[in-house]
Amino acid sequence: MSHIHLPDGILPAWLWLAGWVFIVILLLVFREYFKKDKMSSKIPLLGMLASIMIISMSLEIVPILYHINLSIVSGIILGPAWFILCSFVVNLILAFFGHGGITVVGLNSLIITTEGVLGYFLFRSLWLITKRIFLAGFLSAILTLFLSTFIALTIVALGTMDISSAFNIGHKEHLDTDKGLLKFETGESGEHSGELSTEFDFRKFAVLILGFGSIGWILEGLISGWILSYLHKVRPRIFEGV
């Protein structure tokens, strides 16, 4: 639930374009790092973990409108840098099936990346402090999902704001005084240019997301904790780099 299950055409263009720009910048920053390691076994591992995430995200728990992400577990196994690429690929493939729109791939990738990266560092710190792998996995998953849900809500809240009105672009009072040869008018002068408007009940949306989400965080936290302790029992080598 932490990423945005919004279709295309709901969020204003400046917002989803910003998402794409941010994820492209992130991928470009780490491009050389990926290229340097392109011959390593990281790429097949990334493919496998991305496919596990796709499988888990395709299994919805209908009563609470939630699906398990496994983003924290994958982030811990892959490491923060490779997880950026993993989250982008997962969101791109999911968008191919309408699970989140194509335009929101950038924003969704940023949210899932936050989960994986933050989950990795939180787990590392909590494991050092508590020395208990289940507890570290459980707490890092819950805290990370809590934060990423708030990031998702912030994005939707930003979508309800009209950036053009915030900067007084294309508004009637300016156009009236404009006596030049060229006059710029928006198709919907006076209306919001973004799709989301004040009629969108953000409070209701946030209550529902946080209500269903909180059940989901606990489920994901428990599952992540058990998965990590299971993996640690049978294959402790996976955690050598953590």
């Binding site: 097949p44 493919g47 191919f96 309408g98």
Partner: protein
Amino acid sequence: MDLAYLDYLATGGNSFFHRTSPGLKLIFSLLLIGIIILVKEVLFLVIILLFLYLIILLSKLPFHRIFLLSLFPLIFTLIFAYASLGRGWEWFFIILLRVLGTATTMIILFSTTPFPCIFASLGKIFPEFIITVLFMTYRSVFILFSVFDDIRSGFKLRGGFQLKHPKRSLFNLARAFGYLLLKGIDDSQRFYENLRIRGFQGKIVHHRRFCTWIKKQ
């Protein structure tokens, strides 16, 4: 998860839409999504949806299955659509129709075009390392999906998900995913070793000739 089923439809079909070049279909789909994004009329969205359903029928794709697949994203959009009710029922239906429209467009694209051909076309836009990862992920889904089927059977044999015993059920589910992860990690290593033996140089070369539909003699 119907990735395998869509791939089967894409490789097995021979309709006009199957034969059209993957690049063209990709551009057509993106344009259609662009229109769906911009349209704010329920009637126009319904017409687009009917047009998409016509393509499904003309492409000889199983309508019922494709329709059910396109409903999946609606589950998650309901919260958003419900919160938007203040803007009226028309907007509620616009949201739902947009989801149905974009999902149906993408499902048609993937059920008439094999995935590797789409990835090869995307190679003109995305850098090489992303395309390599897309290929790897695509292949991995098929490898893991058969494993996942066995795990699911095992999970059901252990009682499946029982509301009476939520802790035990969740624990079994975690074990199932844990095993899937372990299997994935092991298979990725084997996969890597096989790739290296075959001369893997960090990229997967895809020949476009495999994407050209060859008329059966």
